[in-house]
């Protein structure tokens, strides 16, 4: 596909609503489409999703497409890749974006290989090179210690996956409407080479980490599973959630699902409170979009101080109870 026009985003839905990443992709996609003087297209893959997909108009899409098929009801690598190959053949986009979500991390490289096109993953900024009109992607490298600007190449569509929470959605405009266009794709169950044979969902108590306005993060410095409870109590009073580091997970203080970082979840809360966390780049890479970061650490030399706005030097055993008490007092008063 040498030529292509239009910026196509692969939307995702969460239940009957657009997933947060979809608004973020439409936000950055709109900017790229404007810079190239092209249309912004959105495609959704799934089953019975047409009505939900229509919400993409208000968030900036010029055209919205769905591939509606019962075989796409949940993500399956080969079926989704086959459907996207067909969509790309039909729409011939110049740029293709998806989220660096559980789906996007699996699907993007698979599809890029089939389309033999350049892909930049986990991007935090995307721009159009005024000279070549190609896509330039900014992304973290070396465990988030460095940033790289990557030229996504001349094969169309140039592809990027976008780090969740890194982009601003547009202000929804409900006057923007349109008809959702179906794209027919021939699929059959035999395409699927992998099969999910079991799913176990861990019940999340309280607020989801990704949605929390305040996140209390704990590290190896917490010292024991019993101590972890004090973070949970603080988070509960702040109506927030608890996140963790690889260090804390390795020690078994918390569930793996709470880990934050470049190879775990990324969040963008109003406030991140890092307790007993050294501030390794791989961890901070997952929380760097937080509005405010504060820390409590006994070692004043810990890198976490470099990345925090406010910090307290001290053992959390001494600092946290008083902090918690004061927080409760302020919230009550």
């Amino acid at each position: 596909m040498a030529n292509g026009a239009g910026v196509l985003i692969v939307g995702e839905v969460a239940g009957r609503e657009l997933a947060g990443i979809t608004g973020e992709l439409l936000g950055v996609g709109r900017k790229l489409a404007n810079a190239r003087g092209e249309e912004l297209l959105a495609v959704f893959l799934g089953s019975g999703i047409g009505a939900t997909a229509a919400g993409a108009f208000a968030q900036g899409a010029d055209k919205v497409y769905v591939v509606d098929n019962s075989l796409l009801a949940s993500y399956q690598p080969e079926s989704y890749a086959a459907a996207m190959e067909r969509v790309c053949a039909e729409l011939t986009p110049g740029i293709l974006l998806m989220g660096a979500t559980y789906m996007g991390r699996d699907l993007a490289p698979k599809l890029a290989c089939r389309l033999k096109t350049g892909l930049a993953t986990d991007c935090v900024a995307l721009n159009i090179d005024p000279q070549t009109r190609g896509m330039l992607a900014t992304r973290a490298a070396y465990g988030a210690k460095a940033m790289a600007e990557v030229d996504c190449g001349t094969v169309r569509p140039a592809m990027a996956s976008v780090k969740t929470k890194s982009q601003e959605p547009l202000e929804p405009d409900s006057s923007r409407r349109g008809a959702v266009v179906p794209i027919a794709v021939q699929l059959n169950a035999a395409l699927a080479k992998t099969q999910v044979v079991n799913r176990v969902t861990v019940e999340v108590k309280g607020i989801r980490l990704e949605d929390a306005r305040i996140v209390v993060g704990g590290g190896r410095g917490l010292g024991s599973i019993a101590n972890w409870k004090s973070l949970e109590a603080l988070a509960a009073d702040l109506k927030g959630a608890v996140g963790s580091t690889r260090g804390a997970c390795d020690e078994g203080y918390c569930e793996m699902a709470t880990q934050l970082g470049i190879t775990a979840k990324s969040i963008a809360p109003e406030l991140y409170i890092a307790v007993g966390i050294s501030g390794a780049s791989q961890h901070m890479g997952g929380v760097s979009f937080s509005k405010h970061i504060v820390c409590i650490n006994k070692d004043a030399e810990s890198p976490v101080f470099k990345l925090s706005q406010y910090g307290v030097v001290g053992k959390w055993e001494d600092v946290l109870p008083a902090f918690h008490r004061k927080v409760k007092e302020l919230l009550a008063g």
Binding site: D122, A322, V327, L331
Partner: protein
């Protein structure tokens, strides 16, 4: 059970941020004096996952690396951990490649090796954090790929892998041969014993060039790459941290709470 594990040698991932420098001319890391490269951590987890399968079922583990400047005691770490053999893919033509060309070379090596049940690699290499090579190799070979796995089990010709997807743990099955990419969820990698390090030191890797792999040099390295790094840089972190004081650590903690109120965050 025959496992192939892809491993990459990368600059020391533990270089502290204060000493982390890049060479803006070559867009690569300029490691500080005396630092030694390492096997990318998630690749060590891939080796670990392969060795656990070998412990349970027998068989052999072969490590494969595209590496033009191997540091022998580093790149031999999989051997010290218990892998049976090591294949190094070396050729000046491989220089300046991207994930796409790396995968092309690795896939050619797999074809030359011929028979295998499972390929394991890291979910992403700790230098560029791309997370692409595994999927590319699987696609090129036309085999199933399960990304970001934890626990693995092999049962009657199938690989069964656990994946954490948000708050759900999925068990995914695929017929072998297949490829899996190892995530944090594998757990910890074993430490090599001194005796095994010594034994690994005496083993010689097999070395294959582009020609050995039947690859046209114009399709690999910088010539075959689809993407190009234009610029590598270290971002200046603007924020200055204010360390809050108090008569006691407890008072400093209270001051942090007051600060958050002042900022209207709580």
């Amino acid at each position: 059970m025959k496992c192939l594990v892809f491993i990459k040698q990368i600059p020391d991932p533990d270089i502290p941020p204060t000493q982390f420098r890049v060479d803006t001319r070559t867009n690569t890391v300029a490691p500080p004096q005396g630092s030694s490269p390492a096997v990318s951590l998630l690749d060590e987890l891939a080796v670990e996952a392969a060795l656990r399968l070998k412990d349970a079922l027998g068989g052999e583990v072969t490590a494969v690396s595209l590496c033009n400047d191997p540091v022998m005691n580093v790149i031999k770490k999989p051997l010290a951990m218990g892998a049976d053999s090591l294949i190094l893919l070396q050729d000046p033509a491989f220089e300046g490649g991207d994930a796409f060309t790396t995968a092309r070379v690795l896939a050619a090596a797999v074809k030359k090796i011929g028979s295998y049940d499972l390929i394991l690699c890291g979910r992403q290499a700790g230098d560029w954090d791309n997370g692409q090579v595994g999927s590319y190799v699987a696609e090129s070979l036309g085999i199933p790929c399960i990304t970001i796995v934890g626990k693995l089990e092999a049962v009657s010709g199938k690989i069964r892998a656990e994946r954490t997807v948000g708050d759900t743990v999925e068990t995914v099955e695929a017929p072998m041969p297949a490829l899996v990419t190892a995530g944090n969820e594998v757990g910890r990698a074993r430490y090599p014993k001194l005796r095994d390090i010594m034994a690994a030191g005496r083993k010689q890797p097999t070395i294959w060039s582009a020609k050995d792999l039947g690859l046209d040099p114009s399709t690999v390295g910088a010539k075959g790459a689809l993407t190009k790094v234009r610029r590598l840089y270290v971002e200046e972190k603007a924020g200055q941290c204010e360390v809050l004081k108090g008569e006691t650590p407890a008072e400093a903690g209270e001051n942090l709470a007051l600060k958050l109120r002042e900022l209207k965050i709580i």
